[in-house]
């Protein structure tokens, strides 16, 4: 961080000294950004413009197009508020549980010998499973854990006909969906936390060891504090990923669980009353606002993490 401060400060000092220098410095600074222009334009068109379109739509009346805040008002009350709360709860649960589990898996293969087949298998599987979701994922879990599922049958066999579905278990409520979400949250965690784990240098561990620190002391005073900002940052990513998932919960529950993405989907698919798509935009805008907060925190944590890692 100190490095970046000096780099910013130097050209400014030069520019204030000599007047003609300022223009060429500015020009050079501008030209440096030309290389990322195509990327910037693409992101603006593909990501920023749609977001702005939603923001505008959120404040328009569905039939007249007149400016209104009634969409936002509806979006933060009643069933839509419940949906938002359920979504946040689901994302938080799956982020924390998936994050911890993913951290352990990532650490297990990180400490394994480099380049081994095991490591390769875990990382490539994570790449595939992190993108897995929707109906196929829902069907896998229905095949495993529904009333007639494979695992349900195993449990019944082992425990004298004990039926988990008669004892409070269901796949179609918040907890059920959370279990299924772990199938893509955990692999995502493995992928995003690995670079941070690789930043933990063996030399630090040796140094701590030489000074008499055991495993607990190493993690309490060295590894933990270094890793913690990255870990929190990755949890935020998982939180966002859980918040944005739509297809899996939709397929699993048939849209009966009240989650904001599902509500948006049904508003925009025309399953509800016609002329309500602007309410969908309003819900979308609220999600974007939450994501914006998450990303600001993420960036701050990444900056904090950069003090030691890389």
């Amino acid at each position: 961080m100190a490095d970046s401060m000096t780099e910013v400060a130097v050209p400014e000092a030069g520019a204030s000294g000599t007047r003609p220098g300022r223009f060429s410095v500015l020009l050079r600074a501008g030209l440096r950004w030309v290389g990322v222009l195509p990327f910037g334009v693409y992101v603006a068109l593909g990501l920023a413009v749609p977001t702005i379109a939603i923001a505008i739509g959120a404040f328009q009346n569905s039939s007249t197009g007149a400016a209104t805040i009634s969409n936002i008002d509806t979006a933060v009350h009643g069933t839509y508020l419940t949906g938002l709360e359920t979504s946040l709860e689901l994302s938080a649960i799956t982020a924390i549980a998936g994050g911890i589990f993913g951290l352990f898996i990532a650490y297990a293969i990180q400490t394994a010998k480099r380049g081994t087949v095991l490591r390769r298998i875990v990382i490539t599987l994570s790449g595939v499973f992190a993108n897995f979701g929707g109906v196929p994922l829902a069907i896998l879990f229905i095949a495993a854990l529904s009333t007639t599922g494979v695992v349900t049958g195993w449990i019944a066999d082992v425990f004298n006909g004990f039926d988990i579905w008669n004892h409070g278990f269901t796949l179609y409520d918040l907890r059920g969906v959370a279990i299924v979400y772990m199938y893509f949250q955990v692999p995502l965690m493995v992928l995003v936390i690995l670079p941070a784990l690789e930043g933990l240098r063996p030399a630090w561990r040796e140094a701590a060891h030489n000074m008499g620190a055991g495993t607990w002391h190493y993690w309490r005073y060295v590894g933990g504090p270094v890793l913690f900002p990255s870990f929190l940052g990755c949890l935020l990513l998982l939180f966002g990923s859980g918040l944005s998932a739509y297809a899996t919960a939709e397929a699993l529950t048939g849209g009966t669980i009240a989650l904001t993405p599902i509500q948006i989907g049904s508003l925009l698919n025309g399953n509800v009353l016609a002329g309500q798509q602007n309410l969908g935009y309003a819900l979308g805008l609220i999600m974007i606002a939450i994501i914006a907060i998450v990303m600001i925190l993420y960036t701050l944590l990444q900056r904090r993490a950069a003090r030691w890692l890389r």
Partner: protein
């Protein structure tokens, strides 16, 4: 080129290998296997249940099933559009950021991670609202948006690839030998990025072959939408198709990473495994401290 790289590896591999005292490794092994076992059970059992549900016969029926051909062809077309555009856009950008704007790498990371956290359902309704009519009428619009969705994975894998070798030295050497930028990019940088580019390609294809939300709201029957539409009357075939897609994608990734790390061993240079680089941290810190 190879000598530079192998000299660097000889430099860096020793401290990395001497990383952990042997006694500790044995103590770790127990919980490591426990964690991996739990993971294997959690990820394996649903797969097994799905296989059992689909049955063997369904796998032979996938190809040639109603509308499977056209849906799969559409998905492949979108995958082609998305992959080509992703590579054309992201390879030069990530190389440029790496060489000229290294301070903005963190910013790039934050920008490219956005598609993971921005709900696709929100993005697609915005796109359908903002895009011009001639684009909305064709499925190609989906291909264009899949470039955005694949950015998190493509950028990370390219970034890992760029960190695995000394881009700056190679580019300077190439330039001082009289090669222009296009030649340098095409004949020096891209060959070194081969593994990363292939990983980015497979991950993009995997994403396109699995993306349901945007395609369904855009009302085009891609492969994932077909799976949903036909799940009602032929569940086993749908499951078989998606398991097949999952397996083929994984096999491709595994092949790329294995071949990539074998050639890394042969030619020297750090191993790239999707998003992370094997032996590179040590050399970087050394470079900075000097």
């Amino acid at each position: 080129m190879a000598t530079i790289a192998s000299a660097e590896q000889a430099d860096t591999e020793v401290p990395a290998k001497a990383g952990r005292p042997p006694g500790r490794r044995r103590r770790w092994a127990a919980w490591r296997w426990a964690v991996l076992l739990i993971a294997a059970v959690f990820f394996g059992i649903p797969l097994y249940s799905g296989l059992k549900f689909a049955g063997f016969k369904a796998f032979t029926q996938v190809i040639g099933y109603q509308q499977f051909g056209s849906a799969f062809a559409l998905s492949l077309r979108l995958a082609l559009i998305a992959t080509v555009l992703t590579l054309v856009l992201m390879v030069p950008t990530s190389v440029y950021v790496h060489l000229r704007l290294p301070r903005t790498r963190r910013f790039m990371e934050a920008i490219t991670i956005l598609p993971i956290v921005i709900p696709p359902i929100v993005l697609i309704i915005g796109v359908l609202k903002a895009a011009p009519g001639f684009l909305i009428a064709t499925p190609n619009l989906l291909g264009l948006e899949y470039v955005i969705l694949s950015m998190p994975f493509a950028y990370r894998s390219l970034d890992a690839g760029l960190r695995s070798f000394d881009v700056r030295t190679l580019v300077e050497a190439s330039n001082s030998l009289g090669a222009g930028w296009p030649t340098t990019l095409w004949r020096v940088v891209i060959p070194n990025l081969r593994t990363a580019i292939m990983s980015a390609t497979v991950l993009t294809v995997a994403l396109v072959l699995g993306e349901y939300t945007m395609a369904s709201l855009d009302n085009f029957q891609t492969f994932p939408v077909w799976i949903v539409n036909f799940e009602q009357n032929s569940g086993p075939v749908s499951v078989a198709a998606s398991l097949l897609a999952l397996f083929v994608t994984w096999l491709l990734l595994m092949l790329i990473v294995t071949v990539g790390s074998r050639s890394a061993r042969k030619h020297g240079g750090a191993q790239v495994t999707l998003f992370s680089v094997g032996i590179q941290q040590v050399s970087r810190t050394r470079g900075e401290s000097e």
